[in-house]
């Protein structure tokens, strides 16, 4: 089974860890999102810690992904831009350091929009640049529990090689883990 099939065949409340290097990551996330949004006709949330919303959404659109049903939580733009432009499907949090803002935003989205069925987190490893390991572990535990309770599929990217303690911890909490760079 290819990575994309493994991820998109997940059941309600499943957490999938996608680990490996950044190579091929953009391609896989495009394919996964395309299948989730177009074929499964669900709405979802994309939490971006690595790249700004403008960049991610334009890359996805270039790859043929219709992002109307995708809500972005952008934790990176406001590090450099105090007042980013207004986008209907994006919410800018203060910085990756403010994990509480991400959790509150996620809870609000789930309450206000029950059609949201999946979350893509890109990526857990970048959180370690701004937070200590213990805080990130607590956040991952919160995130996994919240996603299961909200009956959402969670796709958590962790791009780190060799695998860090965080990846091992997340893997223990996940239902499935796939490695980037394997058969697509």
């Amino acid at each position: 089974m290819s990575i994309v099939e493994e991820v998109t065949s997940a059941s309600v409340g499943d957490i999938i860890l996608v680990k490996g290097t950044a190579e091929g990551h953009a391609h896989i996330s495009k394919k996964v999102l395309s299948r989730m949004l177009a074929e499964k006709k669900t709405a979802g949330v994309y939490v971006t810690i690595n790249k700004p919303f403008d960049h991610v959404s334009s890359q996805l659109e270039k790859g043929g992904v219709v992002v109307d049903k995708l809500f972005f939580i952008d934790a990176v733009t406001r590090i450099v831009l105090a007042s980013p432009g207004d986008a209907q499907n994006c919410l800018y949090t203060t910085s990756p350091k403010h994990l509480q803002e991400i959790s509150v935003a996620l809870s609000k989205i789930a309450v206000k929009n029950p059609s949201v069925r999946f979350l893509v987190f890109d990526s857990l490893s970048t959180l370690l640049v701004y937070n200590d390991l213990a805080s990130v572990k607590k956040f991952v535990h919160f995130l996994v529990t919240a996603l299961r309770q909200l009956r959402m599929v969670g796709v958590l990217f962790a791009l780190d090689k060799p695998p860090s303690e965080l990846i091992e911890f997340t893997e223990a909490l996940s239902d499935k883990s796939v490695v980037l760079g394997g058969a697509e």
Binding site: K69, Q88, H98, E101, S103, K112, N113, K138
Partner: protein
Amino acid sequence: MTRVPRDWIRIAFLFVFMLAIGLFFFTLPLQEAYYFPAVHLLFIAISAFVAFNVAYVIKRAYELNLDHTMFFLSLGFVIFASIWLFNAFVTPGSGPGLTSVFTWSKTLSVFLSIIVMSFGLFSYGDDDQNTLYDVHDQVYYALFVVLLTFLLLLATNPWIASIIPAATQLLATLDWIAFAFLIVVSVAYYKYHLGFRGLHYDKMSSVLGILAIAQLAHIFSQPWTPLWWLQGVLQCVGFLLLLVVFLKEYSTQKYFDEQISSWSGAVSE
């Protein structure tokens, strides 16, 4: 060059500010009474006004995040503001002696409000039950006016005023209980922060710590002495900080809600 986190700069400013206030008060003869009833009336009235604003902003933030702990927090501040304003109005006007009504109101303002604030922490929140706390703004104003009117009637009635006991031992006990609750509630809010439940519970926890220090100053002070005045100053600083924190909380929650509602509307179309 490593960038110093903004939070640390803020904490450093706050620390220096508090240290400056503390040093100023401790340069004064600690046993001497500084009897300025007009200043007391004005200062406490301003503090009460700030506390009422804190209650109002927390109530507005609660309407957005529906965290039931914030409902009780807001209610606690309304109670505090009412009794505190009452305390300003009954400032003794002749001589440094204190009426029992004045002393009781000082103790009860903190005691009753912190007890009410802690209700939210000891009751289990349930999204389905949030409607129970769906209180309209008018109820807040009514609670404030009724409580204040009741207290003023109580104080202006010479018979009632004469039968209220001084009961210093009981007051001291209530003061210590209020101090213990301030610490417990402060720790509980910090745990909420660690549990990713809210945006600014860490700051809320710190301010409750400042209010606990103010309560200690109250416990160990004699009326009108520098330590006694210090309590009022620390409380006022705490309320101003809370006002800033919850205004920020409210604006962030509002921004989140607007963005999510706008997208949800477009998706469901």
